[in-house]
Symmetry: C2
Subunit: 465 residues, 2 copies
């Protein structure tokens, strides 16, 4: 734009005018909540001018305005700010009114408006936040819940490649009690890019005059700020790491995640998995903290879905009511058949879902898994079916009814175990959470099909019209 | 006994005779498999004589004979053995025929016959075993599956209190690559008893002339060889440790357990919990390794228990069959009622069992938990009941039947959520695994009570005889 000409003589005047314009416009747009407009306004402006405009804003708006800058620009603007304003800006990231504004934005809006923050700024910001504050500011930082960005800490030791062991050890001593771990040391270049990693074990066994570059491993396994925390946990579990470095899209080191935090992640993810198996939506709150309205809300969705499926079972029975009218004894076996079928299906789905979660089973092995579950269902069905046939005959003395019940149980077991094995695999292959196909759902599906199967079989076996 | 007099003149003769006797007797008893007899035979014998008797035994019997010694005696005997025999003895601990003998013993017999091994022997034995061999010899060592003894490693660095940092660092360098971790350093006295612990972080930040005793923490959290591995995992999770020391009954350090191994324990224990929730008995094998016979065996026990409960449901319906005969439409709603009730109960039991497993809920809070679940069940029951009443009326146009179904669903939901909350807590208080009261079991109990409740209510509501 014409205002940003570089001719020295006009520059002074233009800049002052421009600055006045940008400042007043920026504040108006921010007050209107027009963040896209404010972002667009700042695009053509020089970093130094943006810095001054930001300095003039009311405090609560400084952080928001800063957050609208592109990554490259943000660091330049930051460096143009007075030290006191730099400090104040970092303070702003904790302010509740600022966080409230961001909280109200949709995740899409946030992602579109907020670029990644520069690595240098992230580190100096994070190191001044308590873990609780880090949690609270995560939205403003743009890291989604459940990603590496949310659980990383900036308290690590970064060394330079050219340092000798002696110099490194001195540096480590000075950082030992402000770092989350000193057992893994991260080597960065002048641009904060990760170039290597070194364990303290290797460092203390090296010769004093060796350099970090001599000892470090260049082949570093790292994660990105947006990597799913469950994936990070799996990586640590697989490689027996004590910590993993977190880098941004430009491979700059912004934090680390230590194994103790990942154990907590594993526990939280397990709770989520187990809740899904029980048909409960999981949430962040602990048991006694969540209020009963939330509890009901988290459970009613699944119950409603299952209720709809259950009504189909009822409709099936209604449509076959003439059979029950003729042989009412058949009704007595319905709960037993669908109950046992549900249990067989619950077993299969539990084993398969757990296998998928621990990566012991992959959806590539689907055919082999389904075959195993089908065979298991057949074996179990034959065992249970034999017992039930005898028992049903003893109970009411009608052999055709007893045989119908027995055969139905075998068929329902096979159906249940096959569905229990196949549906989680199908969901996994479709990139849904396989736990959605857990016991409650399988049980309910088995209800519908089991009843249909049983009554149809009874119609034929008992020669009913 | 008279044979062990200390008069020099008679000693030489007596000892030779005694030795001959012990040797021949020992071999005979061992060949007969009379281990208690062999153990008793060795009690009055001097360590040096036992050592010679053991040296004369066929190889496969040496380890068994050694294992029959009391702890104090075992170390004295061990030190009396030739170095080559010491070495051979450790080799014997890996021999398959030796392990087979031990495998055939009942755990009670093993516990009665085998004393704890001396710490010194354990360490030199374990350090010569591969992790696979360690697993295999665990029975002979007397560590039960699932205890700290089974997962500990002897590869740790032990320092002495009087050492300077400089000396300690030299020692650590020499041990750095044969130790599982050097980040935690364990301080023992001359009798191998734990006296302190020190992190490498503290060591490298100390002054070179300071001693280990100056820097170490004396208040050490350790576990015993028989501590449950789940408890060890919880300890590490709680205190964010990288490793935990394992001591024997005399507080002597015998091994350490590192955090990476505990993550695997957490995964295995989680699988066990999840399997229990799905009504599957868990076993060591991985999914594809276990044969189908084992699969069926692990599942049929639970299915049979649930089947018995299910037959009660059938018996209940049989006893109320006159009601169904009069209003056959009632039968159509049975699967819906017990299915929905089962789902509500499954949610409550899942949440409560998980809470107990993560220690978020304790059985001391039982009343408060049961009240919460009962209220949740009421709220959910009212919501589902209202929907179902309308739907039942639309489906078959009979208002009393529709109202009966609706009221039953409310009552069944309250019953299911209360049982789902209370039964795991009851089991936990009785020191059983609360997961035994999981979804499949709760569902099946709800079946019985739900059907009884529904048909009894119907009898009154519809004015049937």
């Amino acid at each position: 734009m014409s205002e940003t000409q570089n001719t020295p003589s006009t520059l002074a005047v233009d800049r002052r005018e421009l600055q006045e314009l940008v400042r007043s416009q920026l504040q108006v747009l921010l007050e209107q909540g027009n963040l896209p407009g404010a972002k667009a306004l700042l695009v053509p402006v020089q970093p130094a001018d943006i810095a001054e405009a930001i300095e003039d804003l009311p405090e609560a708006m400084q952080a928001i305005a800063f957050r609208l800058l592109g990554k490259g620009e943000a660091i330049e603007v930051y460096e143009n700010l007075d030290t006191s304003v730099q400090q104040a800006l970092i303070e702003d990231f904790k302010r509740q009114d600022v966080l409230d504004i961001v909280d109200k934005m949709s995740p899409d809006d946030r992602a579109r408006l907020f670029d990644e923050l520069p690595a240098k700024f992230v580190r100096s910001l994070l190191s001044q936040l308590s873990p609780q504050e880090r949690e609270a500011t995560a939205q403003l930082l743009g890291y989604e819940a459940g990603t590496a960005g949310r659980i990383m800490t900036p308290e690590y030791v970064a060394l330079k490649e050219g340092w000798t062991i002696l110099r490194a050890l001195d540096y480590i001593r000075s950082r030992a009690f402000v770092s989350e771990t000193i057992y893994y040391l991260f080597v960065t270049d002048a641009a904060r890019r990760m170039v290597g990693i070194l364990s303290l074990r290797h460092l203390v066994t090296g010769q004093p005059e060796q350099t970090i570059g001599d000892l470090m491993t260049r082949d570093v396994i790292s994660v990105r700020t947006d990597t799913d925390q469950e994936e990070v946990a799996r990586l640590v579990q697989r490689y027996d790491f004590l910590a993993v470095p977190v880098v941004d899209t430009e491979e700059r080191l912004v934090g680390i995640i230590t194994v103790d935090d990942l154990i907590d992640v594993i526990e939280a993810e397990t709770t989520e998995d187990i809740y899904a198996l029980g048909g409960v939506q999981s949430g962040g709150d602990s048991y006694f903290q969540s209020n009963l309205f939330d509890v009901a809300r988290k459970r009613v969705v699944w119950l409603s879905i299952l209720l709809i499926t259950n009504t189909v079972t009822t409709a099936v029975i209604r449509s076959q009511e003439d059979i029950l009218q003729q042989v009412v004894a058949l009704a007595a076996f319905i709960p037993l058949l669908i109950g046992s079928g549900g249990n067989v299906g619950a077993q299969s789905s539990t084993v398969v879902i757990r296998g998928l979660n621990t990566q012991e089973i992959s959806s590539k092995q689907a055919l082999s898994v389904i075959r195993r579950e089908a065979i298991a269902g057949t074996v179990l069905g034959l065992m249970l079916g034999a017992v039930v046939t005898v028992w049903a005959y003893v109970l009411q003395g009608n052999l055709p009814v007893a045989v119908t019940v027995g055969i139905s149980l075998v068929a329902i077991s096979i159906l249940a175990s096959t569905a229990g094995g196949a549906l989680p695999l199908l969901f996994d292959a479709l990139k849904f959470d396989p736990a959605l196909m857990s016991a409650p759902f399988i049980t309910t599906i088995v209800d519908v099909l089991g009843v249909l199967l049983y009554l149809t079989l009874a119609r034929h076996m008992l020669g009913l019209a």
